[in-house]
């Protein structure tokens, strides 16, 4: 079938080149040098640490905020139009990444950004005099949350919808308050979905390149995708296999993430009708 031929040429063979190349020496023989070099080079280890940290922070914060906003939009009493407005907007914002997102945050919180100017001129508190910068790690995290929160809303909304009304009624009939309902029923039922969604957010942030590249191209925050990009543009490393080894490292992290995600997904659907 042409489908399989296509995936072979454009997906599996190129991916295999990365995997094989990661274990090839400069002269062609097979070696673990490239991979051990990552483990031994402080700057490369640091890049993985920063990448993982940013992904963790935005997955946890984005997951928490996304869940709270999704629950607020879905729960009884919230008008329907608010719910659909948030659903629609999340669909757009989750796909609004990359270069434009970076600029939107520069216009908001850059040195002459609208919010920065407001804080500096009206409240006489310039965040740039207090160590903040949109072009660094915090800035990247703030920008990533702009697509992480909507993605969380999209992914978790069906699970919140699945919390059955009868459960909350049954528990309150038995004398439980809201807190006890969440402690003993709501959170245990939602837990696999929540964790699964946050793992998805982690991978989403870990693989992102464009936003971080555009925000930090001047400051040089070392993230793994950015190092790979610099490697491809040919101005940092001399060893072409280093980029492949870095990419292989990313693949390992993402594959491990999938291994956690798939069983969680299975558990999450246990309570669905």
């Amino acid at each position: 079938m042409p489908f399989f031929a296509y995936t072979l040429v454009f997906l599996f063979l190129p991916a295999a080149t990365v995997m094989v190349g990661a274990f090839q020496g400069a002269t062609g023989g097979y070696t673990f040098d490239n991979v051990t070099e990552i483990a031994q080079t402080a700057s490369l280890r640091h890049a993985y640490k920063e990448s993982i940290e940013i992904s963790l922070v935005t997955a946890l914060l984005g997951g928490l905020l996304g869940f709270l906003i999704a629950y607020a939009a879905i729960r009884d009493g919230t008008p329907n139009w608010i719910r659909s407005a948030f659903a629609t907007f999340s669909g757009v914002a989750a796909n609004f990444g990359g270069i434009p997102l970076a600029f939107a945050f520069i216009a908001t919180l850059g040195t002459i950004g609208i919010v920065t100017q407001f804080l500096a001129n009206q409240l006489h508190w310039n965040p740039y005099f207090h160590g903040f910068t949109i072009f660094g790690k915090t800035g990247v995290e703030l920008a990533y949350l702009y697509f992480q929160i909507p993605l969380m809303i999209l992914v978790i909304a069906p699970a919140i919808d699945g919390l059955r009304q009868e459960w909350s009624e049954a528990s309150s009939n038995l004398g439980a308050n809201r807190l006890q309902f969440w402690r003993h029923i709501g959170l245990p039922v939602l837990f696999p979905s929540l964790l699964g969604a946050m793992i998805l957010l982690f991978g989403n942030a870990f693989a992102a390149y464009a936003t971080a590249y555009s925000l930090t191209s001047g400051t040089g925050l070392p993230l793994v995708p950015i190092l790979i990009g610099a490697d491809l543009s040919g101005n940092v490393y001399t060893n072409p296999h280093e980029g492949q080894a870095l990419a292989f490292g990313m693949f390992v992290v993402l594959a491990a993430m999938m291994l956690f995600y798939i069983p969680l997904q299975r558990r999450a659907t246990r309570w669905s009708r």
């Binding site: 489908f3 190129p14 607020a72 009884d76 919230t78 270069i99 600029f103 945050f105 790979i228 491809l232």
Partner: protein, 269 residues
């Protein structure tokens, strides 16, 4: 016994969300109407600058053409395959589903390393292939669009009775092309369109592969403007956001027309 009033804590979180989502857009808008020389409000010069830049039109047209080509190739690959799998080879369905998920584990930044190495150094693809965005980039973008096209179409195929439709069509004397073209495709049209609009949104925003294989598409143009022109950058950023909006709203609209929810969005980039 559902409460009618909106809960106070819900108001707080919805406001937090609304402010976080809208503030950057508002700031970008305010930026875009500043005067290029004085930095004061209000001027439409930034929009004029972008609209009069020939590079804007060239890159926008290129990205749009690439998006259309990606959609056509993606649908040509998936529609017959999924039709056949749903009809004759249901055992293969998980395999196709797995392949469609692989791009989540091999994101653009890894894929581009592999593509450049594979085509440049391993198979020594000729320049007519490597130098043409319509071949090299579309080749890669179809892979990026896999999950979105697959989930849209798979939902579409599951919601129709492939067997009955095929048998009915063939007992009336139709051959395979007629069955596929006049019976199956009209029935999965909404699903195919949903996948198409998601793909459009992805291709119009894809930066990683385009910039690292040194092609000049719409997103690389935006980055170029970002680096050189602050206020026009705000204008072009808003235009790019409008394109994403248009694609996603069309998706919602056709979803509603089709009477079922086919909207499925996953992680991009």
């Amino acid at each position: 016994m559902s409460r009618r009033r909106i809960a106070p804590s819900a108001i707080v979180w919805l406001l937090v969300g609304a402010v976080y989502f809208l503030l950057p857009l508002l700031a970008t808008f305010l930026f875009s109407i500043k005067d290029q020389n004085t930095g004061k409000c209000c001027s439409l010069a930034s929009y004029g600058f972008i609209l009069h830049d020939p590079q804007f039109w060239t890159t926008l047209k290129l990205s749009f053409r690439l998006a259309l080509e990606t959609i056509v190739v993606g649908l040509l690959l998936f529609v017959p395959t999924l039709y056949w799998v749903h009809l004759r080879l249901p055992k293969l369905r998980p395999v196709i589903g797995f392949i469609a998920l692989v791009p989540f584990v091999i994101p653009p930044i890894i894929l581009v390393v592999g593509l450049l190495q594979f085509f440049k150094d391993d198979v020594h693809a000729p320049f007519w292939f490597l130098g043409k965005p319509d071949l090299f980039l579309v080749g890669a973008y179809v892979i990026l669009a896999f999950p979105y096209i697959y989930f849209s179409l798979d939902a579409g195929f599951r919601s129709i009775d492939v067997h009955t439709l095929t048998e009915a069509s063939q007992s009336l004397g139709a051959g395979w092309p007629t069955t596929l073209g006049r019976v199956i495709i009209p029935n999965i049209r909404v699903a195919a369109l949903a996948g198409a609009f998601l793909t459009l949104a992805i291709v119009m925003g894809e930066f990683t592969i385009a910039s690292l294989s040194t092609f000049h598409t719409f997103p690389t143009y935006i980055q170029f403007i970002n680096e050189s022109q602050a206020y026009p950058a705000a204008a072009v950023t808003l235009m790019s956001f409008a394109i994403t909006w248009a694609a996603m709203l069309s998706l919602l609209l056709i979803g509603r027309q089709g009477g079922r929810r086919t909207v499925r969005v996953g992680p991009g980039r």
